[in-house]
Subunit: 498 residues, 2 copies
Amino acid sequence: MGIQDLKTHLGEIHDINMASSILEWDQETKMPPAGANARAAQLATLAKFAHERFVSSTTEKHLVGLEKESFEYDSDEAALLRLTRREFDKSSKLPSEFVAEQSRAKALSLNVWREARATNDFKKFAPNLEQMYVLARRKADYLGFEEHPYDALLDEYEPGLTARVVETTFADLRDQTVPLVQAIAAKGPATDYSILTRDCDEQVQETFGLEVAQAFGYDLSRGRLDRAAHPFETAFSRDDVRITTRYDRHYFPMALFGTLHETGHALYELGTAPELARTRLAQGTSLGVHESQSRMWENLVGRSRAFWTHWYPRFVAHFPQFGDVSPEEIYKAVNRVQPSLIRVEADEITYNLHVMLRFELEKAMLEGSLNASDLPEAWNSKMQSYLGITPPDDARGVLQDIHWSMGLIGYFPTYTLGNILSVQLLEAAKTKIGDTDAMFANGEYAPLLGWLRENIHRHGKKYKPDELVQRATGSSITAKPYVAYLKKKFGEIYGLES
Amino acid sequence: MGIQDLKTHLGEIHDINMASSILEWDQETKMPPAGANARAAQLATLAKFAHERFVSSTTEKHLVGLEKESFEYDSDEAALLRLTRREFDKSSKLPSEFVAEQSRAKALSLNVWREARATNDFKKFAPNLEQMYVLARRKADYLGFEEHPYDALLDEYEPGLTARVVETTFADLRDQTVPLVQAIAAKGPATDYSILTRDCDEQVQETFGLEVAQAFGYDLSRGRLDRAAHPFETAFSRDDVRITTRYDRHYFPMALFGTLHETGHALYELGTAPELARTRLAQGTSLGVHESQSRMWENLVGRSRAFWTHWYPRFVAHFPQFGDVSPEEIYKAVNRVQPSLIRVEADEITYNLHVMLRFELEKAMLEGSLNASDLPEAWNSKMQSYLGITPPDDARGVLQDIHWSMGLIGYFPTYTLGNILSVQLLEAAKTKIGDTDAMFANGEYAPLLGWLRENIHRHGKKYKPDELVQRATGSSITAKPYVAYLKKKFGEIYGLES
C-alpha cells in the first residue's frame, strides 16, 4: 500500500464530503421549502458514511504503513500524512455515541434557538444553550488540552491557536480600539450617510457586484453567484467555487461588500494547487486565514479610497442616481463608524468589539464561571462597556448569532483574527509588489492576487496558520499592522489628531 | 432483524442515490463548466458506495430473514421485499468487473458519440457502438432470458414486457399509422403554421408555462422549474420534484409543451404515497407508465381543443401578438402532423414511427443480424419506408439520439408504450369521473389528477406495469384506445373520411 492507495481511499471520502457540500448549497439557494426533511436524512447519511470510512481500520493501516516512509517535510505527501494523522486521532478520540448525542442535541438546540430568537424569549433557549456548553466541555475533555478547555475547541477552527494568545491579542486591540471609537463618536458624521439608502435595483446591484468580483479575479467558468438568506462561499473542487449574497434595495453596501467578501473566500479556494485536488489539503488552512482573504478583498480593497476612485464611473453608469455624489463622499459613507447592536452589520472597527465580547463570554461559560441564565445580563453589560449601547431586547442581543446554538464554540475569535491577518498579509505583499493603492486606483488586482496565490492560496491546508503566516510574512501573527491601519484610515476620514 | 431494519438499511442507500440525483440535477442546470471533472469523480464514488451497500451480505441476510415471514401481498412491506429481491438478484448476477467495464466503455462511447454527431462522422462512432451492443448482449446473457436477449434489457425499463409483445403491438400500430400519415399528407395544411414561429419573450414563456403547470397541480413549495439543454424531471423525495425546460424565442411550443410534459412526470412522483418515502418504491413503476403521465398532460390535456378554449385568454394576455389568431387556429397549429427527421420534434402520430424504427434496429443489432457499419443504411431505408423521407446526413439520422451511446438499449419502446397507455388510462378515468373535455374547457384538472393519484401515482413501484394497468383499467395494456384517439383527433383536424 503506497501513498497513492491512501489518496484513493481519502479521495472517495472527499467525494462524499463534497457531495454533502453540494446538497447544502442547494438547500440554501434552490431547494423548495418542503424538501427540508428528506434533505436532512440525505445529509445525515452522507456524513455517517464519510465518518465511518474515515475512522476505519483502513485509514489506520495506511497511516501506520506510510509513516514508516520518509517524505520531505514540504512535500504534499508529508502534509497529507500530517493532516490525516491529526484528524484521524481527533476523530478517534470522540466516542461515536458522543458524536451522535451532540448531533441530536445540535439539531434540537438550533430549532429552539430559531423560535426563541423569533419570539425574543431567551429563557426558552437557556437549557439548550447550557447543554451545548456541557457537550462542548465534554468534547474538549475527550480531545485533551494543556492549559484551557477552550484551546481544544479553538484548535478545530484555528489549529495551533490558544485562548491565552487570543486574550493577549484582544486585550491590546481593545485598548487601542475603544478610545478610537469614542474619538470618532465625539467628532460626528464624516459625510452625508443618507446616500447609502438610495433605491438601487437588485438586478443592477448583482451585475455591478459581479463586474467587480470578476475584475478581482473571480472566474465564472469556475464559479457562480446565487442568492441566499445567509450568504456564504462553498467549494466542490478548485474548479467549482460558488458564492452567494443577499440584496437590500435601500442599502446597496450589503450586497456589494457581501459579494466582495465571498469573492475573497472564493479566490482562496480557486487558488489551491491542482496537485492537492480531491484531498483535504485542497482548502483554506483555517477559518482565520480564510477570513483574512474575505476581509482583504471586502475592506482593504473594496472599502479603500483607491477602489472608489477607479470604480466611480462604472458605479455611476450602473446607478445614475449617484451622479450628484463624489467618489470621496461614497468612500466616507461606506466607511461609517458607529456602535451598533448587530455584529454582522458592524463597521470595521466596532466589529472586533462584538467578537471580543463573545470570546470572553464563551470562555467564561466553558469554564463554568458563567451560567446560561446569567448570560443576557453579562452580554448587555459588556455591550454597554465596549460599545456604549444596551440591546433593547435579547433578539438583538445575546440571541442574534446562530453559532452557539449549533455548538460552534471557539469560532468567533477567527473573525477578528481574519481582520488582523488581512492587514499583516497586505503589508507583506506590498514589500514585494509595491504600492497597492496605486494599483487599486488603476483597477489592477493581478499583482496582489498573484502574491496571495503564491504565498497563501496554493498551499491550501499544507501548513498550520501560524506557520503559513511565518512563511509568507517572515513573522508570527501580529495585530500591530492592523491597529496602525485602523488608526490611519479612520483618523484621516474623521479628521482625528494623529 | 425486522422489516424496519431493512427499511433503515435501504433508506441509507436511497439517500445516497438521491444525493447522486441532486448532483446530476446541479450538473445539468447550475454547475459552472469547469466543474465537470470533479463531478464525475463524485458521482462515481456515490454510485460505488450505493452499489456496494446494496449487493452486500447485509441485504441478503435481511431478505432471507424476512422472506420467511408472511406479509399480505398488497402491503407495502411485501412490495418492498419483492422489489428488493428482484433488484438484488439482478445486481448479483452482474460481475462487478463487468459493471466497471461497461461503465468505462459508456463514458468513452458517450464522448466519441458527441464528437461524431458534431462532425457528422458515423464511422468514428461505429466501433464504440458495436462495443455497446456487445456489452448489452453480455449483460442480457448474465441476466438471463426465455425467448430473446432483448427481453432481459427491456425488463430493466419495463418489468415484465417482452420483445414479442412489443412487436405485435407495434406492427398493429404501424399498420394503422402509416396510412393515416399518408392521408394527412395528401390533405395539405390544416391551418397557417407560421404563427408558431412568432417571437415570444423567454421570460414570458416561462411565466405562462408555470401558470399552466400550477393549474395542473404542480406545487412550487415542492418543486421548481429551471433551464436545461436536455429537459428532464427529477425527484429527490416526494416533496422535492423538479422540472427543467428549454426555450426558443421563435417556437413557443417547445418550452410550453416541454414544461407540461415534465409536469406530467413530476405529478407522478409528487403523488407517490408518503408511506413509501425513502424507499425505492417511492417512484414511478416503469419508464412506460412514467411516459404515460407526461404524454397525458402534454398531449391529451395540453394539445386538446378544450385546453386552448380555456387558456386562450391567458395566452393572449401574456402574448398579445396572438390577438389576431383564434383558439381553434392555435389548436390546429400545435397539432401539425408532418414527417420529420428528428424524433424529439415529431408530432403525436409520426413520433411512434421513429420509435418503431429504433426498436427494430436495436433488436437486429442485439441478435447480430445487423452490424454497426450497416446501421446508417438500414436507418435511412426505414426512414424512407415509414416516413417517406431520407436524412441528408447521419447527424440528423442514426446519430441523433444519445441513448445507444450510453448503452440504453431496450429503452425506446417505452416512449410509444407511454403514448399508448396515456389514452388507455384517460379512457378508464373517464368512466369514473365523466367528460374530461368539459372539465378541461373549464380549466378543471383536479378530478383527473385525483383519479391518477388514486389509481397510479400513490402506488409508486408497488406493482409491475401490466399489473398496475390491470388494476387501474380492468384490462391488460392495449393500443386500441390510442389508435382510435389518433384517428378521431387528427381525422377531425385534417377533415379525413372516417
